[in-house]
């Protein structure tokens, strides 16, 4: 159920809307604080801490807060799984956007381009299988792997987008927010080696 909700929100509406929807469904009040005392939250959520000035997030409806003290992510069971599903949804949206971009540029017929897209499709299927298997014996580590794979797949897509993936607004922005979510909430530094 959560899979559908998060991914459906993430795919058409983008990262900020997906984060707002996630909070609305999972966090009735307050914010979820990551291991470093940071949070990514809807703009209208009240919290202590220090808002971080990120010009590229202006107007998106979400914000980043620092200096929040002890992490609370452990008090929100399923948060990392929800985030992974959200991020996979964003990754799939990025795949669609990249495909549209490449089609528009007349590049979609190139075998090198198709092969790169296929690698991402295969990676998304692998991640989706991992996230759907609630019986996995090592959910925490497997989840971190899934997050990392999503980041790597996103980076591969951005390489296909050229400068179009580097503008605000643009498909690269959601990928960047997606990495930011991983950065703030994952328990170690394995966020993106793309």
């Amino acid at each position: 159920m959560t899979t559908a909700v998060q991914q459906d929100t993430a795919r058409p509406a983008g990262a900020a809307a997906a984060v707002r929807a996630l909070y609305a469904s999972r966090v009735p009040a307050g914010v979820v604080v990551g291991p470093g005392g940071h949070a990514v939250t809807p703009e209208d959520r009240r919290s202590a801490g220090r808002p971080v000035d990120l010009p590229w997030l202006a107007g998106s409806g979400i914000r980043v807060v620092a200096g929040l003290g002890p992490p609370t992510v452990d008090r929100h069971p399923g948060w990392l799984l929800d985030l992974a599903r959200l991020r996979l949804g964003l990754g799939r949206a990025l795949l669609e956007a990249t495909t549209g971009f490449l089609t528009g540029r007349g590049l979609i017929g190139h075998q090198l381009v198709r092969a790169a897209l296929a690698e991402v499709v295969a990676e998304h299927l692998t991640v989706a299988a991992a996230l759907d298997d609630a019986a996995a014996p090592d959910p925490a580590d497997a989840l971190i792997d899934a997050h990392e794979r999503i980041s790597v797949a996103d980076r591969a897509l951005l390489r296909l987008s050229g400068a179009a993936g580097y503008t605000v607004p643009g498909p690269g922005l959601d990928a960047h927010v997606s990495e930011l979510l991983a950065d703030v909430y994952l328990p170690d530094a394995r966020v993106c080696r793309g």
Binding site: T99, R114, L117, A118, V121, A129, A130, A136
Partner: protein, 378 residues
């Protein structure tokens, strides 16, 4: 993994242990497999992969019945046997790829004949598709089948055909004209006048004993042409594509098995790992687990819709890459001279290379998957 498939996995894993001691011997002498027919895994491989209508003796485990005809069951089976030894996996007797094609496009009489032959005794089968110079490209197929009365005369050549040397029967793809609809396949017996088989030496999977088949006006009864009861669009290429869709996850399963085998090897030889090589194997284990899970899902997907092989392509290309990566990684962990000091691992690395080639190379799968994605099939 669903409990039902878990039952099968556990049983096959147990049986497959019998094969491990013979892997090296098989690598040196493909004939070794013929001396292992008393092993349960051999007997069951020969007797399964036959549809319920023709098989009164399926495998029953914990009240569940297995015929090993679906892609998911076969994928689980292949992964476990390959985890013991990929060469052995490819050298097993039974219906194998030819059986899948017969089940997809064969008529009642053809199925009864083919499966009846397999039930008589452990029998190897071959799948004669690939041609010299043309690979497995349907458009490039050059073997000709010309109907003369109640016979079809086959002329052409096939290459890299697994078990060709020891097989008693199999299928041969041919074309009867120039259009895509003229591609067909026929059941052919070893010993047919005009059919010759020669072994091909390979670097890895030597147990599969690849062969080259030459067809020099080989005459077969016309009723051995598969799918004669079907319309031209529902045989040949149609059956071929469905057969490959069903088989591709099994190759992915084999690749996952090889990756597990290399991982197992590293764990069993922990003391031999170099200082740098002792870095945790946990990420490797989790990656294999994730690809294994995705592979079984792909097999279940193609069981539901054999016409859509997109997930099967994804599984095959991902798992084949994984097998190559993990075997190389474990060799690296064992330090200089690992290929000399660890012959089983060296064989695994050789065997893993074959997985990229089987049922379409990784690059072919990438292009197929991209096309499927662009058509919203995945």
């Amino acid at each position: 993994m669903a409990d039902r498939l878990g039952l099968l996995r556990d049983q096959v894993r147990d049986w497959a242990q019998d094969l491990r001691p013979y892997g090296d011997a098989l690598d040196r002498d493909p004939g070794v497999v013929e001396r292992l027919l008393h092993l349960p895994i051999m007997a069951w491989s020969a007797r399964l992969q036959i549809p319920a209508a023709y098989n009164p003796d399926p495998l029953v485990l914990g009240g569940e019945t297995f015929y090993l005809t679906g892609s998911a069951e076969r994928t689980v089976f292949c992964a476990e046997v390959a985890r013991a030894d990929l060469g052995m996996m490819l050298a097993l007797p039974g219906a194998s790829m030819a059986g899948t094609l017969v089940s997809v496009i064969g008529d009642e009489a053809q199925r009864a004949w083919f499966y009846g032959r397999l039930r008589e005794r452990p029998t190897w089968t071959f799948f004669g598709l690939t041609e010299p110079g043309g690979g497995s490209d349907a458009a490039a197929l050059r073997t000709r089948g010309v109907t003369r009365g109640d016979e079809v005369v086959l002329t052409g050549a096939k290459r890299y055909v697994s078990n060709a040397v020891r097989a008693a029967l199999g299928v041969v793809f041919f074309r009867s004209g120039d259009s895509p609809l003229s591609v067909g396949a026929a059941l052919v017996e070893a010993g047919t006048p005009g059919l010759r088989v020669a072994p091909i030496e390979t670097i890895g999977v030597r147990g599969a004993q690849l062969g080259a088949i030459t067809l020099d006006a080989a005459r077969i009864p016309a009723d051995r042409v598969l799918g004669r009861h079907r319309s031209p669009v529902r045989r040949g290429m149609w059956g071929w594509l469905r057969t490959f869709n069903l088989l591709r996850p099994t190759v992915a399963g084999m690749a996952v098995g090889v990756a597990w085998a290399a991982y197992d090897y590293a764990r069993e030889h922990r003391d031999a790992l170099s200082h740098a090589g002792r870095e945790s194997l946990e990420p490797t284990r989790r990656r294999i687990e994730a690809v294994h899970r995705m592979t079984v899902r792909a097999a279940e997907s193609v069981d539901r819709d054999p016409g859509n092989g997109a997930q099967a392509s994804a599984a095959k290309l991902t798992a084949a890459d994984l097998a190559a990566e993990v075997t190389r990684d474990v060799l690296g962990r064992l330090g200089p001279g690992a290929r000399v000091e660890h012959p089983r691992l060296e064989r695994l690395a050789r065997d893993a290379r074959a997985l990229d080639l089987m049922e379409g190379t990784g690059n072919v799968q990438r292009l197929s998957l991209a096309t499927a994605y662009l058509r919203s099939l995945v």
